[in-house]
Symmetry: C2
Subunit: 213 residues, 2 copies
DNA sequence: TAGATTGTTAATCGATTAACAATC
DNA sequence: TAGATTGTTAATCGATTAACAATC
């Protein structure tokens, strides 16, 4: 699982490298750029099968392709977006779905006022049509942009209807008691809070105890 | 370090709980809500000193406060934003800096055209004034919203000038070879890619091998 | 063939879990 | 006091690193 979390970084770096015209790289070289050990990199790539060649290293193009397949970037995944408010509209409009491997196939909002509003080519649909829509179109993920009060019953409904992957922007953590559900709780604040803490550690602290890590 | 990454989640959940009027919680109870073991929770809190009381549990309010202090949420950290384009303007306008423990004290852009444009009460300043400004005001973090080509020399300059913490939106990973630097490379795609992969795992895969994660 | 670099196994390190004594 | 629940130590588990044989 920590391996998987590193894959996107590998992917980005290798694509970047590829765009400079490079064709091969060794685990050693890669390790200096990524701040990991060569050993770990070889271990990582070998989790998914031997992509390298002894005495040569890794072919950047095919390595990229392999990682792309693992990450599911070689195909589009259908998704829906729920909550056509400010945040939802922004995401629906500005997120490069295709480039990210997604295809937005529907936007929903429970407010009748928002019905049929056109956002980025999609007519907002009423939330009560969700179950039927899901059964018909089989989207695989839901992007949640609803207020925190609405989130729990909504996730229940979606889960029942067959969506088990969520990208949640609601500023409320979806609890973990859905078996096999995949939830990415996206909180802007998360990063900021972590960063704050690290800053605190770095700057001479103002009188509180220096606990180890 | 994994402990620190869990703190924001603890914090959010406890605040949520607090708002419902609850005053105490045991590690056992907390564990069911958070999907962790009670043991781990006690271990986590004890990294920073004993916040609990035997036979009673934890006082939610004071636990929140303690975690808030650890995360640096009890005070404001000065920061600057660089790159007053579309993304930078959006962040400068919509990010709740205060609520996140930050205070935006300056916006910079290298383009003379953007000079003196007013964004959320801040006049855009020319990038060449950066060093002097940093020396005078001592911001602690820079939010980077510049195109990827510009990022490397910029980070060099900022680092020299005394900023060692970055929140980077440039869609290019800042390399890790600045000692003690704290970089949060924020890629929308990261989450999506990871999610893609997890979806892949979940959905019956279309003919590729089922490697053990 | 010699040099380079992978794939893979074993050793180390760190984080999580279990257990239980301390104590409210 | 008895019950509950923490703080803390020891045991387990998993991930990272080191080492080296396989092989291009």
């Amino acid at each position: 699982m920590p391996v998987i979390r590193r894959l996107p970084r590998y992917y980005r770096f290798l694509r970047e490298l590829q765009s400079t015209g490079a064709t091969r790289i060794s685990s050693k070289e890669l390790s200096t750029h990524m701040g990991l050990t060569a050993s770990q990199i070889r271990q990582d790539f070998n989790c998914f099968g031997g992509f390298g060649q002894q005495g040569y290293g890794y072919n950047i193009a095919s390595l990229c392709d392999e990682i792309g397949v693992i990450l599911g970037l070689d195909r589009l995944h259908k998704c829906i977006l729920i909550g056509a408010g400010k945040l939802g509209t922004t995401i629906a409009t500005h997120m490069p779905f295709d480039a990210c491997g997604f295809q937005l196939i529907g936007i929903f909002d429970k407010s009748p006022k928002r019905k049929d509003v056109l956002i980025n080519g999609h007519q907002v649909q009423p939330a009560q049509d969700l179950a039927a829509f899901i059964q018909r179109e089989h989207p695989i993920m839901a992007i949640l942009c609803v207020p925190r009060e609405g989130i729990e019953p909504l996730v229940d409904r979606l889960y029942q209807a067959g969506i088990h992957s969520f990208w949640n922007f609601s500023h409320y953590d979806i609890p973990v008691d859905y078996p096999d559900a995949v939830v990415e709780n996206v909180h802007l604040n998360d990063s900021i809070m972590t960063l704050c803490y690290k800053i605190t550690q770095q700057v001479p602290p103002a009188g509180e105890d220096n606990t180890t890590q």
